[in-house]
Amino acid sequence: MDLDIADMTNTVNLREELESVGIVEILAQLDRELIGLTPVKTRIREIAALLLIERIRKRLNLTSEVPTLHMSFTGNPGTGKTTVALRIASILHRLGFVRRGQVVSVTRDELVGQYIGHTAPKTKEVLKKAMGGVLFIDEAYYLYRPDNERDYGQEAIEILLQVMESQREDLVVILAGYGDRMDKFFASNPGFRSRIAHHIDFPDYSEPELLAIAELMLRDMNYKFSADAREAFIRYIALRKTQPLFSNARSIRNALDRMRLRQANRLVADLDRVLAADDIMSLEASDVLASRVFLNDGSMTSSA
């Protein structure tokens, strides 16, 4: 990192440059708060490095073009796409590639209208709000509905493509969605694929990673697992992963919320007991084991 880029007239100290924009702490925060996701973190580091160099090149008048920064995030539900988008926005903002750094998160509903002439003003309004920041389009493949040729989604796509091309210095667009559907979306809209510089794939979390995420979430909420509960939760993750509609970290958060509910119920059931702070903070094995995930027959699902 002590390399100095020497120019005829200018020299640049990379370390000073890096410290002056303060992205080191954002990257560290990313490492600290996001468990796993190694390929994603690597890509973000690479992008951050590229942008840092690009910024220096601009200052030395070696380049005047605005780099294409539009991205696509693909991955299963609950793998952290939205969270990473927020971090990317602050990295881009610190490096000066977006002027304001806000993230406007939309889905098809906010872009596509319901009757002729409704779509363009709607899409433009969202674009105007996102100017100077990042437009995050969740489940972007819904914009394109091949089964309905009169669908207004195509109109929104055309406006988006035009702004993505002509106002690259004003707006960064991030498309997000599940991997296979996004592939189909890009295949039928080649204009999008070529305008997007960075395709980032979010892998599913492994079981130990999910456990680490659960413990991190609990720590943030000032809860903790007892030793038994932790064992039970490891079994819970393994079982839950095999069930349908598993959405990674989001499922974990929902499970924790239900366990907090059961814990509160358990504590309230015995009104005469004198509680220590530790009792209120800890989740016991019984709170975990009451989950319907541990029931083999589906007839008692209401107990969840």
């Binding site: 304001r100 003003p121 105007k128 709000k129 100017m131 100077g132 920041g133 106002q167």
Partner: protein, 139 residues
Amino acid sequence: MRITQGCFSFLPDLTDEQISRQVQYSLENGWAVNIEFTDDPHPRNNLWEMWGLPMFDLRDAAGVMMELNQCRKVYGDRYIRLSAFDSSHGWESVRLSFIVNRPKEEPGFHLERHEVAGRNIRYTTRSYAADRPEGRRYG
């Protein structure tokens, strides 16, 4: 005759960059910016037509500039003004309003003197542009 209404109208026309800076100043104050156009330059004409709705919740001037450029494409031969509305006291009131586009030729005003009883005179101003029908007044 160059008409002078609103802010900055005694200055040379603002460049796009200067307009953008003024818009950004308005947005940073939390004001919503609106685009209006007209081809009736009379100073008492307060019914300008709106170009879309006022733009709420914007963070960056680029959004307003995008709309302004589209308005110029359609009504580039007319007067266009930006107004910034402040709603912080419970109702929308204009904080800043300035002309950002004007016709190439501004024919000016005719001053009509109406002689009434007792050698009194009443004055009327009438824009030469308004002699022609709406939509065909300039260019």
